[in-house]
Symmetry: C2
Subunit: 409 residues, 2 copies
Amino acid sequence: MKNSTAQPGDLVEVHLSKKIYEGILLQSSESEKGIVLLKLGSGYNIGFNQKDVLEIKTKRKAKEQKKEERIEHDMKKPSIGMIITGGTIASKLDAKTGGVDPLTSTEEFFRFYPELFEKVNVLKIETPFMKASEDMDYKDWQKIARIAEKMLNDSNIKGIIITHGTDTLHYTSSVLSFFLRDLNKPVVLTYSQRSIDRASSDANMNLQCSALAAISDIAEVMLVGHASSNDDFCYAMPGDKVRKLHTSKRDAFKIINSKPFAKIFPDRIEILREHKVRSKNKVKTDLKFEEKVALVKLYPGQSPEILDFYLKKKYKGIVLEVMGLGHVITKGENSWIKKLKEVQEKGIVVCATAQCINGRLEGYVYSNGRKLLETGVIFLEDMLSETALVKLGWVLGHKDWDVKEKMLD
Amino acid sequence: MKNSTAQPGDLVEVHLSKKIYEGILLQSSESEKGIVLLKLGSGYNIGFNQKDVLEIKTKRKAKEQKKEERIEHDMKKPSIGMIITGGTIASKLDAKTGGVDPLTSTEEFFRFYPELFEKVNVLKIETPFMKASEDMDYKDWQKIARIAEKMLNDSNIKGIIITHGTDTLHYTSSVLSFFLRDLNKPVVLTYSQRSIDRASSDANMNLQCSALAAISDIAEVMLVGHASSNDDFCYAMPGDKVRKLHTSKRDAFKIINSKPFAKIFPDRIEILREHKVRSKNKVKTDLKFEEKVALVKLYPGQSPEILDFYLKKKYKGIVLEVMGLGHVITKGENSWIKKLKEVQEKGIVVCATAQCINGRLEGYVYSNGRKLLETGVIFLEDMLSETALVKLGWVLGHKDWDVKEKMLD
């Protein structure tokens, strides 16, 4: 192998006798001595025996860490607020492991996303925590909502962007739809599926489109992200009608049983349907939340005894992800009907959502559906299970509310 | 209203002063006296006050019940076997309730589907039970597999069709892929989302396409059904790579992380990819099944104490529908890591599948993924949760098998 000046983190070409691979050079560990490790554009790591490598050409050096970084303010542009919470969009490749690590500072975050500043002035930035989204819970949602309230009631700020991990982003976008009352301005949640230092990263376009959404007239909680695997445009999707439906694709989030508010290109926005418009309202948070709520997905042959567990653990509400148009096991030794009546009599609220994801529950078509309805279970029509869970937590947080009325509101 | 001779079950036009509605006339109950009830083509029921109705015109009389019905055999056509198990495809509209009731006899089933006999001779028919599929469990799957084995080893039969309810059809098509060893001929599962007496029924085309699949060379367990909402062609989908993804649309089943074997029009079949071909093998069933397996979908903030419940109830295996690329809650008071180690040490096998549905688990990208892998949880790559559950039951039914090796096989 020719001597190479390539360093871990650099974009390189690895030349073999018959093939050339391009990717980010990774640091080999002691146990991998003699191995050249590369992270490919696809995200996969590949290793080569050093003796098979003819040459390593550096295509682009890793960005040098600047000693001091500042966020430049341009008050001629519309101002937005940002809440940074962690996730891949606030992560970078770790050249040592080939994995992905969180960024350590707000300055580092913005160094990666210079295009964001083309259209907007990021006036306020808050970083309540840096978490992988699977580690977030309702207390984190409350923290985000409190900061959002403060920013939205600041007359200098036109809208806000919340960056977030993807795993539970659709839970957060749903719950903010309930927590933020009398919404006056755009609340945009966005993400990336690939960290910014990867060629295929989706972060920059998602942020550029989010900036346009944040200064638009759409006073809704939205999730903004890739509409397809192409880097051409994003959708602004209703926060409570969206679900992560791919582990790795850039267009991981899909609108379910609804339509996008807008199609957003990095340089323009096309409104697609009606929405709430910005106003002089003062946003108020309503952060009450009952944490003893559970989501249970049904499967054939499942024993209903799981309901006893939730009863014993003093759960207040359960979302059942039921089968088909709204069915549970109704006949035989594992029938859920009697047990469902029992736990509801003992005070647990039970709601039903569709494990089909798409479509609407219709309890009256089949006799099994009618039997489930008769137990008192609340059929949540075309509501997503994830939305149902956070809505149920929020509704049950209000002791004097009519649960059924509010859940179907 | 003009006198009308229309009877419940007839297709009628209801004339109001400004609008005409077409649909199936339903029987009004005592409490609905004075109401004209109609089932619309959309499947929804509508009621009219009798005094607003100018006229009810009969467009088509309900089919008369024939006293005696026989299935005609034409031995010049290729012969197939059929297993009828219930579900919407074996149901008809109940003009009394507007709901859907099971057919009562095999003859009645075939009376509704005359087109099926255009291409094939239905030589053997068995009806082990008539169930809504949400009421089926592993014992029913075993019954179906035993009948299938017998039919597939009958040299007069070219292939079989299994008609089935939709709610758990994808579980049955998965488990048959495991139960039927050395498969020699096509095993086709099909369904309908709308009962046959409705104008929009999908049953006839699904059955016609299933007949072509059953006499084809594709010796696989397949689910055959509408490829789109149009009545133009079906897909033959791999039985273990398919999921119900819409509560009511005719193309409710979608292929996940795979491709169709064939595109089937009512009169021809286009093979799209490689598949096992028919052979002289003798099919053997392997019906061992451990019923103490559970499917658990994770959500943010979920307490891991649910695992104690499964431990106490002596479950042998759990499929965890994890978040993102393969993540559970890893930090904070609700971390699942310690508890997952504990239940696995105590003998429960834990597998992970993606709640994103599409895409593949990749545990090495993020540190939370690596921590989950380190507990010993088996990452099932791009396997569907539903397939994973039945496969885990089947694998654990074999006490001497290497579970990890077999699950990833």
